[in-house]
């Protein structure tokens, strides 16, 4: 328990807050702790979580990416156009295409960052403007409503009829789970993952220890781009349409959730668990307000207060509070 607290202070705190929030909500609203509600929470937040783990890898490597949500829009549009051009395609081709396009966009960021030694926030703000401007210019802001059949048909992987309706798990949730696992495996179970943490914590130290800096940037931004691409395709699958300016603005919400989950701006810290908790806290808070009958206009205000409160308490050291009293003389 104390090891967990020491290794993951932000995550532990968030877990406590989330548990309290869930307990309160399940007392206040009978609908909260039902399968229908919980599965719909999962279905609705799959896309955000896929983005979140992509961004996590970049944050761990000491960078920041503003362009991923716009990148996802670009991938959506290009992938769907290409698939239509091919005469339909299928899931395997679609996902592969989305991943490849996403990695491509990520590598553009990485190449500019590494090649010209520009810091990541400058590069990604530029590419954010460039991607969005070019996308809107070439598409004239037109949406695509006629997607291939396989893409627009919802896929239910598990369903159960309860007294208040159907509880179901849809495809994006499974894709999300795979993405979470893959990211966890990358950052916790591979040498590359250790190198990413080292690079994020101290780039110069990492370079002198023989880590290939260009490879680190390429992996981090490529991974983020890949996740953005997958999330973009999933978003198109869920909404059954591609709207070029639908995803813009989501990047800052995702960034807030990931940093809330303990990833450090500046690199070297962050975990998949934290990402999940960060996204979950925001999602559960909104869901709870909805169930309690609060005006939808007030949701974001309360979410902002929650994030502010979470930051403001972030210096309280739980591990130290739970530690046995030390004798100071020693």
């Amino acid at each position: 328990m104390r090891d967990f607290l020491r290794a993951y202070p932000a995550e532990a705190k968030l877990l406590v807050v989330l548990a309290l929030l869930c307990a309160l909500l399940s007392l206040a609203s009978p609908q909260f702790l039902t399968l229908v509600n919980l599965t719909s929470l999962l279905n609705n937040n799959a896309v955000n979580l896929i983005w979140a783990v992509g961004l996590l890898v970049v944050l761990i490597a000491g960078g920041i990416d503003i362009s991923f949500a716009v990148g996802a829009s670009v991938v959506q549009y290009l992938a769907v156009m290409a698939l239509m051009g091919m005469g339909g395609g299928g899931w395997a081709v679609g996902i592969a295409l989305a991943m490849a396009l996403g990695i491509g966009l990520g590598l553009i960021n990485a190449a500019l960052i590494h090649g010209f030694r520009i810091i990541s926030i400058v590069v990604t703000i530029s590419t954010f403007n460039a991607f969005f401007g070019l996308l809107m210019f070439f598409t004239s802001g037109k949406s695509i409503y006629s997607l291939p059949d396989w893409l627009s048909r919802p896929i239910y992987l598990w369903e159960l009829q309860t007294e208040i309706g159907w509880a179901d798990i849809r495809l994006p949730v499974v894709v999300m789970a795979i993405c979470l696992f893959a990211t966890w495996f990358l950052i916790r179970r591979t040498t590359t993952g250790r190198q990413l943490y080292a690079f994020g914590d101290n780039p110069e130290g990492a370079r002198r220890a023989g880590i290939n800096i260009w490879l680190m940037q390429a992996i981090a931004f490529g991974w983020c781009g890949m996740m953005a691409g997958i999330a973009g395709l999933m978003q198109a699958h869920i909404t059954k349409e591609v709207v070029p300016n639908a995803l813009i603005g989501r990047e800052l919400d995702v960034l807030a959730a990931v940093v809330l989950g303990g990833a450090r701006l500046g690199g070297g810290r962050g975990s998949v668990l934290g990402c999940v908790l960060g996204v979950a806290l925001v999602a559960v808070a909104q869901n709870g307000l909805n169930l309690l009958g609060v005006s939808p206009y007030a949701f974001k205000m309360v979410v902002g207060i929650i994030i502010l409160a979470a930051i403001s308490t972030s210096n309280i050291d739980l591990a130290a509070m739970l530690a046995p009293k030390r004798r100071d003389r020693e």
Binding site: I64, I66, L112, F116, R117, I118, I119, I121, V122, V123, I125, S126, T127, F128, N129, A130, F131, F132, G133, L134, M136, F137, G141, G249, L252, D253, L255, A256, V259, L260, L265, G266, S295, Y297, A298, F299, K300, M301, V302, V303, G304, I305, I307, L308, I311, S312, S314, N315
Partner: protein, 327 residues
């Protein structure tokens, strides 16, 4: 040349060169570019983005960020609008306008001070704090207005948004005054010096006896006040207030700061090159508009332009290093 560099910063000659290049290219290719009407429209469009960029500038110089600028401006505009509505909307006199302006500035200062306090006394990262503040203010604004807009303001407000004084557009005068105030603040006052020192090295500044926490609170408070000015200007230009107005400008202000040579890590940055960068951006967008492209293409060009400038700066840095190496 050297004196210009010393007085205004090393980026100025390069940026002026860019500006001249852009003006010449558009002057030759776009037929209506060098007309009074076009230059006038640039002069009316520039101040809004310009004042917001000034609000972003000081936090970046102090090594932080203020992502809440747009919604702070919206909330300040909303405050003024509420006051005007209370006193009869279109028929409101000058008294209520002054009262509303004071309250709007207070709202801006308050939201800035709140951010500054959390950043300074809790030590949370400015990006995160201002992001949370942005989400909160956006929510608050949407809650208060139910997503709609407020319009119908007194006639005399049009003077602020569209009038001119001695042939110079009033918004441009406002922007000029704000930029001058910021320039003086940054170069001639203790607070400006402390802001740059905080951006360079927070700990060293604390140890050398500067009250860095108070400095940080003041930085974000001033940024909030500047947002409020932008909010009032936006209100008078559009004759309406809607939460989310100017949303797209948020990252453009950051872009303008970086283009103006502000160090992304903080510590270095001047007002004059940033103002020139703003003019370049605005000229680019209006020239492209005249050539038949839309604002979206201009946005893309802004992004590519920043990348290009950063690459050129990198190249110049390497060239200098190599030259120094030979000598």
């Amino acid at each position: 040349m050297e004196r210009i560099k010393q007085a205004f910063g090393p980026e100025v000659p390069g940026l002026l060169g860019f500006l001249a290049l852009v003006v010449v290219v558009f002057g030759l290719t776009a037929p209506n570019f060098l007309t009074a009407a076009n230059l006038g429209s640039i002069a009316y469009q520039l101040p809004e983005l310009g004042i917001l960029t000034l609000a972003m500038l000081i936090p970046i110089i102090s090594g932080g960020f203020n992502l809440a600028i747009i919604y702070t401006a919206n909330m300040a505009g909303l405050t003024l609008a509420f006051v005007l509505m209370q006193f009869g909307g279109v028929d409101a006199g000058v008294g209520p306008f002054l009262l509303g302006t004071v309250l709007a500035l207070a709202v801006g200062a308050l939201s800035g001070a709140a951010m500054g306090a959390v950043i300074a006394y809790i030590g949370a990262h400015p990006i995160l704090v201002s992001l949370a503040m942005m989400i909160f203010l956006r929510g608050l604004g949407e809650f208060l207005t139910k997503g709609g807009d407020i319009s119908g303001f007194p006639q005399y407000l049009a003077v602020l948004g569209h009038g001119s004084f001695l042939g110079i557009p009033v918004p441009l005068i406002l922007f000029g005054v704000c930029a001058l105030a910021w320039h003086i603040l940054l170069t001639r006052t203790r607070h400006g010096f402390a802001s740059r020192m905080v951006g360079s090295n927070l700990r060293a500044t604390t140890y050398s006896g500067v009250h860095t926490k108070r400095t940080l609170v003041l930085i974000y408070t001033l940024s909030g006040v500047m947002c409020a000015i932008a909010g009032i200007l936006m209100l008078s230009r559009f004759n309406s207030v809607r939460v989310g107005h100017g949303e797209a400008l948020l990252l453009v202000t950051v872009l303008a700061c970086f283009l103006g040579g502000v160090d992304p890590f903080g510590g270095f940055g001047r007002v004059v090159p940033v103002v020139i960068a703003l003019v370049v951006l605005q000229v680019l967008s209006s020239g492209l508009n005249l050539l038949g492209a839309n604002q979206h293409l201009a946005t893309a060009v802004w992004g590519l332009f920043l990348v290009g400038v950063m690459i050129l700066r990198w190249g110049a840095g390497r060239w200098k290093e190599r030259k120094r190496g030979r000598v």
